[in-house]
């Protein structure tokens, strides 16, 4: 291992720029003649719209235009789309209502965009937005997904009965029914997965710019996948032909999934720029983020586990109602289906699994992928019910899990996934050792002596990352392939530029991707530039989400590096008058095997471009290679997180006393960055378990619309995490990587809730475990007696 190669932890190359205020975020960009947009948003969850009177707004200082859904329709601009087709049990395609970027005749959630005011300054646009008179006729709303399925529930889209988008199934139904019939014991649990609001540090933003000379539109936007944004805006929404549309996602301050999607605001900005003939800029306020960023989770689930007499799991049956919000966001349909139910086998050898998922419209913000996307929801179901089964059997939850672990690989689950490799017992053992599992009873006694309650909870999770083989996801309904591309440009001086279709919005790609190049070509880290986020520069790319940038994005780079090395060896062979097969390349030096003849990488790079000393009729000059890598399989990071809590029954405050995370991420490029990812993921997972909850009133007002009411985790809410690693090399990609970006958010919530239910000796507890609810649970007997 070199100081900057694979396995080293050099400091992040991008951090100096970020921490000194030199980042270049969308809001930092200003275009000549720029105007500012402010959106008129619906104050109602459900209403028809009569007249929109913009006369007063248009008369206000600085106002350039007020545009509505009708104007978009007149220009032939289409609505937003959902890019993943899911079919119901009966074979019918999912029912998706139209999703105009600016409402047409109806609003369907608080914050729905009704019109846009464009003015010389943002303050002027905002003043004028208040003066746009919208004639709303409020209608009854429904925010709860279970209620939305009811016979009398208001319809979100008139044409979609019972608000049911799909009624989907997965698994082996008959075998599952048989398993329950034959079961020695059945354990069941009702589980709610609370709605979360993402809250990336940088709010969404967009600048639309149109060059009437070339007819080229440019969109600067906070996107995790600029090429996908361009494809959708061009091919489906009809903004401009793909070659006349450039999408730039510069520095982006966090996404967590919420910036994968193509939203109304950027669509409007890029369209309006041509309409008003000037650049149009919008930077979301935090209140707008709360209202309109796609939310996460929001599931109601009933789960049942069948066990044989020996305590082995023989079947799992799950029925989930998933709240999809008022419109189908870009990947909304895939999250509670193919990204969820496919993980219901967990780490366990379960021969029969049957899952049903109903996707439901409600008058709430659209729900889509949020850190983990379906996998946290699946893991919460599996790890809660497994824990419950162990408790009902009176068995140590660790031993119950151990008995049911999958032990041979590859392992085909009944829910599509074929796990390629893993060692679940290794991570369980290491985590139990790190937390001093055996010492827990003593610590519990000490807490009880001090009037506190103490509990311990496990979560042996698995996730599917590195999404994904294109043919596989295509067969499941994806509208796109999920490969990744890379181009490696070696300059004549031997410095290297890597153009990647992955996008970094906090992950540290500029460092980790450069480490791979440094390792492979022997060039110093500072001689490598990672280029991403611009459709004019990068060939194409599917973007960053689902922990895919290492396993898929870096695999594409590795493939391109193979080609660079192969070509450079041929050139080196000519330069040193040797056979190509005799050239060895190591530590940045080409050597003729068995001789002292050698050339450095920069010497060969220069020779490649000069073209004087090799036959350019056989070998093209230059040293630049590209690759598209389509993965062979998902990757399956897995591990064991254990949480130990102490509860103050006087106040209901839960303190996390210990949190251990042992993860198997396969080969790791930069351990420091991986630790950061795990820390952030656990923080979000603990946030979900203890603090965060997106709550609507019954009439559809967002009650948690600011940090005054939406509880973000703070450093003081978190313990120092103890991390550990176990490693099985991923056989499905050339680098052996699995992905680490979501593990914490996936594994932590059930670990925390298992610890709380253990401390309180109760069967179930819904997230988030807020102080009052914990206090009530801890004092249920006394409170009931009052």
């Amino acid at each position: 291992m070199t100081a900057t190669g694979i396995g080293a932890s050099p400091r992040r190359k991008e951090d100096f720029r970020f921490i000194t205020g030199k980042g270049n975020y969308t809001d930092d960009i200003n275009r000549a003649g720029q105007t500012f947009a402010c959106f008129v948003r619906s104050p109602h969850a459900h209403a028809t719209i009569g007249r929109i009177d913009a006369a007063a707004a248009l008369a206000m200082p600085g106002v350039v235009a007020v545009l509505t859904g009708q104007d978009m329709a007149d220009d032939g601009i289409g609505g937003l789309i959902c890019g993943w087709m899911v079919h119901s049990k009966d074979g019918s395609p999912m029912k998706a209502g139209p999703h105009p970027a600016l409402a047409q005749g109806k609003v369907r959630y608080c914050g729905d965009c009704v019109a846009v005011v464009i003015a010389e300054s943002y303050a002027q646009a905002k003043d004028a937005a208040e003066a746009v008179a919208v004639d709303y006729h409020p209608l009854a709303a429904v925010v709860d997904a279970k209620a939305a399925l009811g016979p009398d529930a208001p319809l979100v889209h008139d044409e979609i009965a019972h608000n049911m988008v799909f009624d989907w199934e997965l698994g082996n139904y008959k075998e599952t029914v048989d398993a329950f019939t034959a079961a020695a014991k059945v354990v069941s649990l009702d589980i709610v997965n609370n709605r979360l609001i993402p809250n990336a540090m940088e709010p969404r933003a967009a600048i639309g710019d149109y060059d009437s000379g070339t007819g080229i539109h440019t969109l600067y936007t906070t996107s995790q996948n600029p090429h996908v944004a361009r494809l959708v805006l061009s091919a489906f929404i009809g903004i401009a032909p793909e070659h006349k549309l450039r999408v730039i996602a510069p520095d982006v301050g966090g996404g967590f999934g919420s910036k994968i999607f193509i939203y109304a605001e950027e669509t409007v900005c890029v369209w309006a720029a041509r309409r008003v003939g000037r650049p149009v800029k919008w930077t979301g306020e935090r209140s707008e983020s709360f209202l309109s960023d796609a939310h996460g989770r929001d599931h109601h689930t009933h789960a049942a586990l069948a066990l044989d007499a020996g305590g082995r799991i023989t079947g799992l049956r799950v029925k989930t109602i998933a709240n999809l919000g008022a419109y189908l966001s870009t990947f909304a349909s895939s999250v509670p289906t193919y990204l969820y139910a496919t993980l219901l086998s967990g780490q366990y050898d379960i021969p029969a699994i049957y899952a049903e998922v109903q996707g439901v419209y409600t008058h709430t913000a659209p729900v889509d992928a949020y850190r983990g996307a379906g996998r946290p929801e699946a893991t919460f179901v599996v790890e809660r019910i497994v824990e419950e089964a162990a408790r009902q059997l009176g068995e140590d939850p660790a031993e119950f899990r151990r008995r049911n672990f999958i032990r041979s690989f590859p392992h085909q689950t009944p829910v599509i996934m074929a796990y390629d490799i893993g060692d679940y017992e290794a991570s369980l053992d290491k985590a139990m050792q790190l937390i001093d599992y055996d010492g827990f009873p003593g610590r519990r006694r000490a807490s009880e002596a001090a009037g506190k309650r103490r509990g311990i909870g496990l979560s042996t999770y698995i996730e599917a990352c590195g999404i994904a083989p294109s043919a596989a996801v295509g067969s499941l309904g994806a509208g796109v392939g999920l490969w990744e591309s890379a181009e490696v440009r070696v300059n004549p001086t031997g410095s290297v530029e890597v153009l990647t279709g992955s996008h970094s919005h906090g992950q540290g790609h500029e460092t980790t991707f450069a480490q791979l190049v440094s390792e492979r070509l022997g060039v110093p880290l500072e001689n490598v530039e990672i280029v991403h986020g611009d459709t004019d520069k990068v060939q194409f790319g599917m973007g960053t989400y689902g922990s895919r940038s290492g396993a898929v994005g870096m695999s594409a780079i590795a493939k391109a590096l193979d080609k660079v090395e192969a070509k450079a060896k041929k050139i080196a062979a000519h330069l040193m008058e040797a056979a190509p097969g005799d050239i060895e390349f190591k530590d940045g030096r080409f050597t003729v095997a068995g001789t002292d003849k050698s050339l450095t990488f920069p010497e060969v790079s220069l020779a490649a471009y000069v073209g004087h000393k090799f036959p350019t009729s056989e070998i093209e000059p230059g040293l630049k290679e590209s690759a598209f890598y389509d993965p062979l399989n998902f990757t399956f990071p897995a591990g064991c997180h254990i949480c130990e809590v102490e509860i103050d029954p006087d106040t209901g405050v839960v303190r996390i006393e210990r949190f251990v995370a042992v993860d198997d991420f396969g080969v790791i490029i930069n351990p420091m960055i991986v630790e950061g990812q795990v820390h952030g993921g656990i923080a979000q997972g603990i946030g979900q378990a203890l603090l965060e909850h997106g709550i609507y009133s019954e009439d559809g007002q967002l009650l948690t619309g600011s940090f005054m009411d939406y509880t973000m985790p703070r450093a003081g809410d978190l313990p120092s995490f103890q991390l550990g690693l176990t490693t099985t090399r991923c056989p499905s990609n050339p680098l052996g990587m699995k992905g680490c970006g979501e593990a914490g958010a996936i594994a932590a919530p059930p670990a925390v809730i298992n610890a709380i239910t253990d401390a309180l000796q109760i069967r179930d507890f819904a997230m988030p475990a807020t102080p009052e609810r914990v206090w009530r649970a801890a004092n249920a007997v006394a409170l009931a007696a009052e």
Partner: protein, 265 residues
Amino acid sequence: MYQFAYHRPGSLAEAEKLFSAAEDPKFMSGGQTLIPTLKQRLASPSDIIDLGGLKDLAGISVADGVVTIGAATRHADVASSAEVRKAIPALADLAGWIGDPLVRHRGTIGGSIANADPSADYPAAVVALNATVHTTRRTIAADDFFTGMFETALHTGEIVTKIAFPVAAQAAYEKFRNPASRYAMVGVFVARTAGGVRVAVTGAAPSVFRQEAMEAALGKSFTPDAVAGIKVSPDGLNADLHASAEYRAHLVTVMAKRAVARANG
């Protein structure tokens, strides 16, 4: 933020004159409540009269058993004052637990009590320590100052100039923070004063209030056990997403118990 006229008077007299001449004016001290309110367009005063230029309004002095704090004194200065720490350590503690460092370095004691946010910390200290509020026109006893949610005995245009806190024999403050905003969901300030034990509760109700049953019990025995059995009625207490009235009522007892324990060191 809507448009407003901004003024920075050099004297209290000028501040009062500006105020009386304006259509819908607001005084601003540290601005830690007012500026967020303006940014969210929840208020649209015609004029903002910034009292930050009145240097004489800030300062701390201790004499004759009274800690006097100028209205424009920032929370961070109270928290770090050696004099306050020595005379009434509970007051320095309270100031140091307000908000976050940014708030503590801008927000002022006068602004806090004049705003009378139901979940502000200072009102609990003012009432429990039986402080006297000095204004441009008169002095107001603590028990008469806070009259309701965001309401005080101040007349239109009247400015708080300083607050005089008699030194208590023992005092302590304990609060339970709202998990999201970190404001006091329930804060209890207990003090053994010359006039007896006083217990003031903030955060739990529309306005700070005294808990007489606890005062009586602590007057007999200044111990945590004295208040542990006192049940507070949830009637009239605040209820929101984060805490029901019943839970707040329970927390008043718990925080009171802990405050007494802290006061007893």
